[in-house]
Symmetry: C2
């Protein structure tokens, strides 16, 4: 791509560093911003600078938060005996969206993945142990992706938590509600047969 302006080229190069934004999309975004008359680019720029400087993590659960303790950890009605362990902030938001969970969270910041150089020390596992030591937690729900890395992480955590009197559970896996069997992937379908549950007419 040959640019007629260095300013434009810099903007395209910068935008193209975003994930799943190629140089063609970056150019489209940059030209859109140039055409825009509401100083959209300045607004986005200031939000991004803010993101760099002011983002903070909850010191208890490592959710993104403006204060040192996040809104969820602060809420008095929440069940503090139930902690849902997730990989990322996005998972917290997804679970909160369901309004089916009233416990607290613990954001690991990833999963153990030796291939990517991520060991247990890179995650917030030590802080989770600190939380476990207080004796307040009765159950840890592992809401972690069912990948090799995810399963490794769950196994590691379950071993680490053995010395505390904490029940470990994982979220249910199976064919989606409303999903058709023929479209379910083989692994999910296979496992959902192996892990079948007794029929109850109450549900």
């Amino acid at each position: 791509m040959k640019f007629s302006s260095k300013t434009l080229e810099n903007a395209v190069e910068a935008l193209a560093t975003l994930p799943s934004v190629g140089r063609k999309s970056a150019l489209r975004l940059a030209l859109h911003l140039i055409k825009d008359s509401t100083s959209k680019s300045v607004k986005i720029a200031s939000a991004l600078v803010d993101l760099e400087n002011n983002i903070n993590y909850c010191q208890i659960c490592f959710n993104i938060s403006d204060a040192n303790t996040c809104e969820i950890c602060k809420e008095p009605q929440r069940n503090k005996e139930l902690v849902c362990v997730v990989e990322s902030v996005r998972d917290v938001m997804a679970i909160e969206e369901t309004t089916q969970f009233n416990g607290l969270y613990h954001v690991l910041g990833g999963v153990i993945s030796p291939m990517d150089g991520v060991g247990p020390g890179d995650l917030t596992i030590e802080s989770l142990e600190e939380r476990a030591k207080t004796g307040e937690i009765k159950e840890l729900i592992m809401a972690i992706s069912p990948t090799i890395e995810g399963d490794t992480t769950i196994y590691y955590l379950s071993k680490q938590m053995e010395k505390y009197d904490i029940e470990i559970s994982t979220i249910a896996r199976g064919v989606s509600f409303g999903g058709e069997l023929e479209y379910a992937d083989e692994l999910t379908l296979g496992r959902s047969i192996v892990a079948r549950v007794p029929y109850s007419s109450e549900h």
Copy 2:
């Protein structure tokens, strides 16, 4: 979407104002930027502020340019008798990429579209007339999308240019090179039969 942080929410809202970036994608971008340790967001922010403040248009052809006259208009080897009329800067880049054109450009900044409230006065048509008046231009090549608005614009321009001794041409339309007939859309295929050209073994 419920956010645990106002800073994060602002960034997502700002990014979601970009075209074809929804709130889910915006969240993914924001979380990527938060995780990034190379202050990518500050770099993007400064490029965007630059884009807002320092972008300039060539006073001759309205291509985006850092100087008052763009590199293309400045180049002495270019054929100044041939001017390619395009809708946007992106078209200039696309044509330059082909290296098949050695003339100058004129960027209209859009097409005449009464439905969108774009009249001839909103485009750079007056400046094109100024260029025509100098008598330097011998041919105007209309490289404008073959839509109703594009055709209207070409018609309007051809009427405006009647009083000058300038040849008007449009770029060739037809089935793409390497394209298979069965995949060409009906309009293109139909028109390419009507506008067939004599066979020449020299090409």
